[in-house]
Symmetry: D2
Amino acid sequence: MAIFMGFEMDPKLSVAEVQAFLSREFPQMADDYRVEAVGPMTAQIRLSPDTKHLRPGGTISGPTMFSLADCAVYLCVIAMVGPEALAVTTNASIDFMRKPEANTDLLADVTLLKLGRGLVVGDVRIRSDGSDQLVARATLTYSRPR
Amino acid sequence: MAIFMGFEMDPKLSVAEVQAFLSREFPQMADDYRVEAVGPMTAQIRLSPDTKHLRPGGTISGPTMFSLADCAVYLCVIAMVGPEALAVTTNASIDFMRKPEANTDLLADVTLLKLGRGLVVGDVRIRSDGSDQLVARATLTYSRPR
Amino acid sequence: MAIFMGFEMDPKLSVAEVQAFLSREFPQMADDYRVEAVGPMTAQIRLSPDTKHLRPGGTISGPTMFSLADCAVYLCVIAMVGPEALAVTTNASIDFMRKPEANTDLLADVTLLKLGRGLVVGDVRIRSDGSDQLVARATLTYSRPR
Amino acid sequence: MAIFMGFEMDPKLSVAEVQAFLSREFPQMADDYRVEAVGPMTAQIRLSPDTKHLRPGGTISGPTMFSLADCAVYLCVIAMVGPEALAVTTNASIDFMRKPEANTDLLADVTLLKLGRGLVVGDVRIRSDGSDQLVARATLTYSRPR
């Protein structure tokens, strides 16, 4: 596995560079997401919900969490390999386990389980800021163009 | 299975009633989605994308398709059982198979594979209007409150 | 999509040829599975359960159904493209919806939703022979070697 | 969440008790699986493959890994709550990421992400003994009878 040969273990981009990439390429999402950390095969992304993310009762919607998970894996890949030609999501599964707390940011912690030349598999754990209980857990597969 | 005893086979709500439910309960989504059809264990929902749904290149984003799938199953459940207390998504998996056509509506065809007292499983097939090729296929599980 | 250009629409192998492939390549499985039908992007595979597939109470185990789904997609791919170098399963999701009937064969109906050069996505619906209710529904992704 | 109130955090059964449960309830599987460890919301299960688990080339089959994941979550639930009436798998998704090493045991590490009264969600990471690279990662949902 390339990821254990060293040269792919450290992220190529810094937090600021990933945030800048997001602002440049996905300006409509850049206000919602903040890159908190990047590391070897990992990243943490913060979502500050506004009204468009909420469901009746003030809870954050499932699709908002899906979107956060999808974005978080994508940004982690970009951090690791640099701003390469667009990888696409081919598969995702998500378990919604608890209600997020109202009026609270969500934090998504990504770990890339596999960073292959063809397929990337990312694990995402989402929780409300200040809590260590998972509200959702997702697995996403990205296909990298060859 | 209750669903083969007849009394649950026909939808309780009409297209207009499901659309009215959507407008009342999820006003922020009602502009995006249109209920095209409801039938025994089935529904068809249309998404007319606007700029917030698009990715660079004019293609519709994965989270938009996830959101459509999630909403479509939910509305199909509501059509079948009436506007009951809120069911929640517990699990979803989605395969993205082709790029949707730019500037084209998406149609989501739902079939409920199981409508149990506890769990509901819905199959969703998404395609661009005018095409019969699937752009995505999702399976969602909803848990009904007891 | 290649699959709509005609030359990939019809299976390259017959029922007998797929069954022979199974016997030759996977002799340990060939006693359990019978190829019932192949068609354009479709196949039907039968499992006749014996004691190793059963759980207490005579019901067929979940892993047996997973195995049937995995095998069914694989054989459908082989039927469509011929006995090519080994494709591998990269992702699978399965919903178990009802208990299979005891002492009854299972039938798996596969449809390939996508037959790309890189990835193949197959839908599998499993039911007890003689019933039209689904006991399980699976989606599998295979990666084809390049 | 009950799981953070303490009384459910520690396993009710020991390694020996879980192994004895497996032998008693699933004798046909007890030769293949060995319970290596149980802990708060966690368990480790070992599979020593024999010829029925192998594919051409000596690699362990995907269904064998699925079966291991399914069994591992089940045994972890039993360890936590005691030998209760049979929980059933309702959903599973699995990513196969690397080839297991030939002629090598597999280790499955389970963590229960949620242990609710109705639904249980378990995360399973599978690797070849002696390696820290994942060969597969699965998420399973069990429904507990009420």
